[in-house]
Symmetry: C2
Amino acid sequence: MTGSLVVIGLGPGSEGLCAPDATAALADATDLIGYGPYLDRVALAPGQTRHGSDNRVEIERARHALTLAEQGHRVAVVSSGDAGVFAMASAVFEAIEHGPASWRALDVSVIPGISAMFAAASRLGAPLGHDFCAISLSDNLKPWALVCHRLRLAAEAGFVISLYNARSRARPHQLAEALALLGETLPADTVVVFATAISRADERIEITTLAEANPENADMRTLVMIGSAQTRLIERPGARPWVYSPRSAPK
Amino acid sequence: MTGSLVVIGLGPGSEGLCAPDATAALADATDLIGYGPYLDRVALAPGQTRHGSDNRVEIERARHALTLAEQGHRVAVVSSGDAGVFAMASAVFEAIEHGPASWRALDVSVIPGISAMFAAASRLGAPLGHDFCAISLSDNLKPWALVCHRLRLAAEAGFVISLYNARSRARPHQLAEALALLGETLPADTVVVFATAISRADERIEITTLAEANPENADMRTLVMIGSAQTRLIERPGARPWVYSPRSAPK
């Protein structure tokens, strides 16, 4: 039996936003590997084995997946959103780079998905209609000073900024620091959005400003988006305003 | 009859990467509106009307779509990739902002899709595994000086940089300028990728470096990706090397 490893992003939550290629690869797998809550979103087919694991053990999980693939299993490594964005794809290639040479010959592939910031953007209007960036606020794997450096430059560049891993129980204070730092460059009325559990039953969207944003309203499932100077609201009757960034910038 | 307008991203090209929600919304529409080559990817159902248009008439196209929706049509505005990323969603909201008040009461929605940089990333490995940005290189709607400013700051920040609208017949020289400018900040051996027509029959991927990159190899369908200082190759037997950006940055 020839093994394989496919890294899959399930999209933000609803089945309607999961690519058919991802669904097909899940059905074809013998072994599903991932963070428990993500695996819970997949219904096991007869004969499939589920290998759930805790968060923050990505490299061990990647090595486990590669070992099973080498033994002949058809392994699917499951992430939320897009597997290539602050998720498992990078961990798998890190494991390959530092692992046995035989892992480089394995049949490995990645199937893209809809990442949290695009799911959030679609609910809001078109906040990512102009140049933008994505920054993980976690300092588990990079110095906090580097995060701050990037936030400053991103604000100066006029990017719309999507913050991944904005807040967790282990890192409750960084989002407030990040917002304060951005406030040194961006106006107080800059649009800020907290988008939580997008496309899921408990979806929650808060549209606020840099001056008013309350970091306590973010949790592990919140994507925080900071507008550029051009990002604006369109008020509408009986509904949340649209948020959009015009395609053009002032000449 | 109550009209509606849904803005849809078809994904990069293959049907397997188009979200089921997008497919369902297309099937439900009475009118499909978009740039001709994108509409060509959709099979018309009986009774559906196709309104193809040229490129670079986005606002006229958006107004047309809103007018039809107000008249009671169920309109789908079709983009490639994700409709919110340098595509039609922003044009639709721009038209709403500057249009009649009645347009704000219309049933408008956006369905997210898989944008070109994520499709390209999945074929390459995991180049977007760390902080990244997306910049449209077109100066049709913003000053070229602003593009250059953003490129400089993005390089200084250490973002992986995805360039959309990198080259067209009307703008053949800007990509060379952009690469030269990035070369002032980034090392000559920085990984550069030209990813063309990803997930389509004529898909083409070129992995090169900042010093060696030939802008002539890009066309209208090419996503150009510039690695960070951490982005690297993993050589493998009998296949293109993997490209990935580690999750961690040096402390």
